[in-house]
Every structure is written in structure tokens, then in C-alpha cells.
């Protein structure tokens, strides 16, 4: 009986260190493992004994690609524990900061990490040789996202201006308006991105996912909402751990989340899109329809189009937020530390990011729990690989291996986050 292993020892174009190991026995997929060997860094342990005010800076260091997401979920949880509400222009500024990170992160993934797979290149530098205009568009889009983060946060990676209660310093409107012209260009470039992405070749593949995302009464979900799913779940953020739990597999330094009584689930752009199409602005809905999408999209390879649609949404929203901005009188709401437990959940570019903290009466952290999007997607990624390989078992190993890598990259996995990645290994025996 023929047997083989397909393996990728160190998966490229993802953040962090991991691999894929697939064992094929005859015509059956015997085993699929996403191996995460990114070394553990023990954030939940090292947060114990730290001041509540340090959480946004410390948790940002979990991920250099989405530090704003960690800052936003942690301040939300702390403000929840301390009974503070941050609204008005301060809330708008946080949303603008988050839009900047989404633009930077999505532009990076769509063009530099994901697109090379569809076009048959090893990387974006190779794309630039044949299609310089496409890569230039990517870099300019990425740059305007970074510019927003740097303007509000002080720098692109690990911004320094976010604090529990608001910011250390708020910008005058005149500091933001110079970005408007380029953001309007970016919105057009994002519409162009959706058109371009729709022309890429997509494998037929539509798993029956349970999508989980935030949902807000009138906004596309970024920084706030209830946790909803495509099977009818609709819960407040503090109920998250009643419905989702983490399991620990031997091959992994990351914990994998499971929806109780349901199994694996899918978070990220595809989940947000399917659960919140009606919350997209008309310009983003129109771009999606023009690209041939309806309000339902189950093909994970098409997440590259959906990220483009989300780029349109966040560029459009950033323009609006800057136009409507008035500088608040105070940079932050006063904070008085006391004992309490707080919950936070926001939409990182890769999906929902949950934080819970317990504080003592001095505001010192006594317990921390952090569930990043990639550990929530991990079980789903393995399930996708299993289904995908089963239907393409006769492909030559080299092609199958590359396509399996693509199945993983569909999720824009952030292994650094999930460990707190990637080797691909297809074994046939």
C-alpha cells in the first residue's frame, strides 16, 4: 500500500514559527497536524503582579503585526473591570487607530503574504519584477495605514500612546486632516484591490463553517460588539468562557479553542463578512458585488477578496472619522484602581481577540487570560487541511504541499500570537 508524508518544516509568509505534517495512508488522510513550535512566552503568567496600567504595553508585545488589537482588547477589559466608559472623540480616535492597523495588516497579507500563492511566485519581491505597479499600490496602502498608527500611537509597531481611560495625548484636528487626501486615494486603491483579487484563480472549496465574530447595532465590528455565530449564538463578551474552551494538543505550543458542543469554528475576515455584510458601507458592498460576491462567502481562498472589501470599509471609515473629529478637552478619563474582574473582546485583523483580567484592590493583576484569533482558528485550519487533501489526494506532492501552505495562509495565521509556525509535512504510508 502506498504511503507518504507531506511536510512543510517551516511555513513561510506567516508570522511566527510553525509547520504542517500530513500523513496519507493509501487513499486516506491518516493524520493532520499544524505544529506550532514558536517558543512559549508565558504572557498570562508574567502579567501577574503587574499594574493594570501596564497591560496595554505588555500585551502589545505578544504580536508585532497587530499590537493595536492587544492594546484595544486589554484597555477594554481594564475599563470594564474599573467601571469606566470611554466614548465620544476618544472612542472615535481608538477606532481610527484600529482602522490604521487593519489597513496595514490587510495590505501586508493580501499583497505580500497571500497573493504570491495565487500568482505562483515565492514572494512579493518577485511579483514586483513582473508587476511593479501592483506591489507599489500594496506598499502605499500599507504605508497610509502605518501613518495613521504612527500619528495616533507615536510609532507603527508597539505604539506608546494608548492608556486605560483614553490616551496620553490627543491630536489636534490639523494633525489628522493632512492624511485625508491619501486616505481617499487608499479607498479607491482598495476598490481596485477588490477588482484585482477577484481575477485570481480560486480552488473549489466551501467547508460548512461555523463563523464567529462580533456584531454591533450600527457599526461594522472592529472595537466593540456582542459575540455572535452563524449557528445562532448571541452572547455578551463576559459569557465567552461559558461557551468556548481551550484544549492543549501535544504537537503544539498553542492552545486550540473549541466551541462547546459544536467543535471547531472560524474567526476573521470571512466570519465578520458573513455575519455583518449589512453593516458594510455602500461603497464596500458595491465593491463586493462587483467582484461577484453575495452576502455569503464560504470559500476560504476568497478571503483575499474579503480582506480587500474590509480595506474599502476601514479606509472609508477612517476618512469619516477624521472629517467628524473634534479634539476632546481631556486626553483620558480619570481612573481610580480597585478590585474587579473585566472582560474585553475586539476584532483583530485576524479575528476576535478575548482578554480577561482580575485585579486586586490596588489595581495589580492577579489573573490574566488571553485568547488570540489564531488559536481559535487552529482546529479549523487542521479541519480545512484534512478536507482539502482528501479531495486532492492524487495531486503531485510538490503541488499539494504548496496548496496546503495556501490553505493555512488563507487564515493569515499569527503563530507568534497563538503561542503564545510553519513546517508542512505530508506523509504517505
Amino acid at each position: 500500500m502506498s504511503a507518504k508524508t507531506i511536510k512543510v518544516d517551516y511555513l513561510a509568509r506567516v508570522e511566527g514559527e510553525g509547520g504542517i505534517h500530513i500523513r496519507i495512508k493509501g487513499r486516506e488522510v491518516a493524520d493532520v497536524r499544524l505544529t506550532i513550535f514558536e517558543p512559549p512566552r508565558f504572557f498570562e503568567a508574567l502579567l501577574r503582579g503587574r499594574n493594570y496600567s501596564e497591560a496595554p504595553d505588555i500585551t502589545a508585545r505578544i504580536c508585532g503585526i497587530c499590537p493595536v488589537a492587544y492594546q484595544m482588547s486589554s484597555v477594554q477589559a481594564m475599563e470594564n473591570a474599573l467601571g469606566i466608559t470611554v466614548d465620544g472623540p476618544l472612542r472615535a480616535l481608538r477606532r481610527l487607530l484600529y482602522c490604521g492597523e487593519w489597513i496595514e495588516s490587510h495590505a501586508l497579507h493580501v499583497y505580500l503574504l497571500h497573493a504570491p500563492d495565487f500568482l505562483g511566485y515565492e514572494d512579493a519581491i518577485q511579483i514586483a519584477r513582473d508587476h511593479p505597479a501592483v506591489v507599489q499600490r500594496a506598499l502605499q496602502l500599507k504605508k497610509i495605514g502605518n501613518e495613521i498608527v504612527a500619528a495616533l500611537g507615536g510609532r507603527e509597531i508597539h505604539p506608546i500612546n494608548v492608556r486605560v481611560g483614553g490616551f496620553y495625548r490627543v491630536p489636534a484636528k490639523s494633525e489628522l486632516t493632512p492624511m485625508l487626501d491619501r486616505l481617499q486615494w487608499a479607498r479607491d486603491a482598495s476598490v481596485e484591490t477588490v477588482r484585482w483579487a477577484a481575477t485570481l484563480p480560486f480552488p473549489e472549496f466551501e467547508p460548512d463553517y461555523e463563523f464567529v465574530a462580533l456584531r454591533h447595532p450600527d457599526e461594522y465590528p472592529i472595537n466593540e460588539g456582542r459575540i455572535v455565530s452563524s449557528t445562532g449564538l448571541d452572547i455578551a463578551v463576559h459569557q465567552y468562557e461559558e461557551h468556548f474552551f481551550e484544549e492543549h494538543a501535544k504537537h503544539s505550543n498553542a492552545l486550540r479553542s473549541v466551541h462547546k458542543d459544536h467543535g471547531s469554528y472560524h474567526v476573521g475576515p470571512l466570519a465578520r463578512y458573513n455575519l455583518n455584510f449589512d453593516r458594510l458601507p455602500p461603497v464596500a458592498q458595491a465593491a463586493a458585488r462587483e467582484a461577484g460576491l453575495t452576502n455569503v462567502c464560504r470559500n476560504p481562498f476568497k478571503s483575499i477578496i474579503v480582506r480587500g472589501v474590509e480595506l474599502v470599509q476601514v479606509c472609508d471609515e477612517a476618512v469619516r472619522l477624521i472629517q467628524e473629529y473634534t479634539m476632546p478637552g481631556k486626553a483620558a478619563v480619570p481612573v481610580v484602581p480597585h478590585a474587579g474582574t473585566g472582560y474585553g473582546c475586539t476584532e483583530a485583523p485576524r479575528g476576535i481577540l478575548y482578554h480577561r483580567y482580575r485585579l486586586d484592590e490596588q489595581g495589580i493583576i492577579t489573573e490574566a487570560k488571553i485568547v488570540p484569533p489564531t488559536s481559535q482558528n487552529q482546529k479549523q485550519i487542521e479541519s480545512d487541511l484534512r478536507q482539502f487533501v482528501a479531495s486532492r489526494i492524487d495531486l503531485p506532492d510538490e503541488k499539494l504541499t504548496w496548496q496546503c501552505e495556501q490553505v493555512v495562509r488563507n487564515y493569515d495565521p499569527c503563530i507568534s500570537c497563538a503561542t503564545h509556525f510553519l513546517k508542512l509535512h505530508i506523509e504517505r504510508d
Binding site: 513561510a12 514559527e17 513550535f37 503585526i65 519581491i125 507603527e156 501535544k250 507568534s416 503564545h420
Partner: protein
């Protein structure tokens, strides 16, 4: 190949957040120029193409925290003519070096339900504890313009213009009024290595030392100043135990305030 022998660049990751190597991709205006000047031979975050070593220049991100990585760094050193460590993890052990002050077993069981699946070292250590390092670039994260400066200097065989004075000098240069003197905001600027451009004070916030200690820092004098501003000993310990907690001057000053 041989006919266009561009210097060959490799980027390596150890225990880290990926932010420092992302700084290279964040050089939106310079990235294609850099890619034209060097052969990017091994950079898994950006490309699935892997060119075999040796490499003329290796950028190393992250700290050593596992037995496997403690061996891998020696292979990286053997393959690299010139090795530059980038960021606080690689130069000082990073935020994950907070484990060095605790029993790592308690850390593992606090995070993982099946601790026996986790293989880790009891300490997070900088690259220079393991192999010879040719140059260090500080910061959590590094400053991307300093990275471009280092690349450019190495390519042109000159010394990079990287200052080792304190953040205070950077505040003076950008005209930021001292927030510790004028507003009484605790600030690590006087003992912290320059390089960020003194961002925090310009945002009304004290420096939190993410570039690590400057040359010859007087941490004792700064700690006395902080105490005068009403900062408690436990908070001085926390201030010293940030992203460069195991850099020697910060480690010692932290311990001096721990009873």
C-alpha cells in the same frame, strides 16, 4: 549567482513577536531598493524561497528560550559572516525574560493545562550569551530608520551612525521640555539608550525604557529622583523590569529596590 554577487541577507527568528523583522517590511519606501541591493536569501516571513548559506549578513530577532534554539543559534552563527541582533529580545532577553525572576514551572502551569507538553529553558537569554555578535540594534521594537542605516553602512563598508547616548539628548534635540522636571512625570529617559527619537515624552508620557540602558547609566541616581517624585519601591521594580529587565544595569537596580 556568481556574475551578480550581491551580498546575501538572512533573517532569523527566535523567541519574539516578529515586530523587529516586520520593521524591514515596514520600510515601504525603501523595501524594493533594499531588495535590489542585496539578495534576500532567507527571510521566511516574506518568502518561501530559501537559499542555502553561508550568508554575508544575518539579522537575528528574538531570545533563546528552548533547548532546540540554543543549538540552532550556533548553526546560524556558523552560516553568517556578519551577525546583527535586532531588538530587545535578541539583545537583552525581552519581556519573556521576566521568567528569569521566577520559577518557570509555575509559569508553565499558569498558562498550559498539560505542562508536560511544553519544552522550555528556565531562562530567556540574549543571543550574545550564546554566540559572538558583531553588532546590536536596540529597541522594542527597533527603529526602522536605524535598521536601514545599519544595512546601508554594512553594504558600504562604513561604520553606522548609531548613537549610544540617552533619550534625554533626543528630547533636547526635538525641543521637548523635560516632562520630569516641568510636570513631575516619572521618566526613564536619563538612563535609556537613544534611538526611538524620544517619542514618549513628546506624547506627555515618561520614557519606559524600551531601548534598554544607555552606556554608563546612573540608575541609582534616577531611582532616587523617582522616589522623590513619590514612586514606590514596587513601582521602581516594575519600571526596571520591563522589556529589557535582564539588561545588567536595569536588573541590578530592580533588585536593589526589592526586599
Amino acid at each position: 549567482m556568481a556574475q551578480n554577487a550581491k551580498p546575501r541577507l538572512a533573517v532569523w527568528k527566535f523567541s519574539s513577536c516578529d515586530g523587529c523583522q516586520l520593521s524591514l517590511l515596514d520600510c515601504e519606501d525603501e523595501l524594493l531598493a533594499v531588495a535590489g541591493a542585496v539578495e534576500i536569501a532567507n527571510f521566511p516571513e516574506a518568502s518561501r524561497a530559501v537559499g542555502k548559506g553561508p550568508y554575508d549578513l544575518s539579522l537575528v530577532e528574538g531570545s533563546i528560550t528552548t533547548p532546540h534554539d540554543a543549538e540552532r543559534i550556533h548553526r546560524v552563527r556558523r552560516l553568517s559572516k556578519f551577525l546583527v541582533t535586532i531588538g530587545a529580545c535578541a539583545t537583552a532577553g525581552g519581556i519573556q525574560a521576566l521568567r528569569n525572576f521566577h520559577d518557570v514551572k509555575n509559569y508553565i502551569s499558569a498558562v498550559y493545562p498539560s505542562p508536560e507538553f511544553i519544552e522550555t529553558l528556565s531562562k530567556s537569554t540574549p543571543i550574545s550569551d550564546h554566540v559572538k555578535v558583531d553588532m546590536e540594534l536596540r529597541g522594542c521594537p527597533i527603529n526602522k530608520y536605524q535598521l536601514v542605516e545599519v544595512l546601508s553602512a554594512i553594504l558600504n563598508k562604513r561604520k553606522p551612525g548609531i548613537s549610544s547616548h540617552s533619550v534625554c539628548i533626543e528630547c533636547k534635540r526635538r525641543g521637548t521640555v523635560c516632562i520630569m522636571v516641568a510636570q513631575g512625570i516619572p521618566c526613564l529617559g536619563p538612563v535609556t539608550h537613544a534611538g526611538c527619537g524620544a517619542i514618549c515624552p513628546s506624547y506627555n508620557r515618561g520614557c519606559y525604557g524600551c531601548f534598554g540602558p544607555k552606556e554608563t547609566p546612573n540608575t541609582e541616581s534616577l531611582a532616587a529622583q523617582l522616589t522623590g517624585l513619590g514612586v514606590s519601591d514596587p513601582d521602581i521594580v516594575r519600571a526596571m523590569r520591563g522589556f529589557n529587565a535582564c539588561a545588567e544595569p536595569f536588573r541590578k537596580e530592580g533588585e536593589a529596590h526589592e526586599r
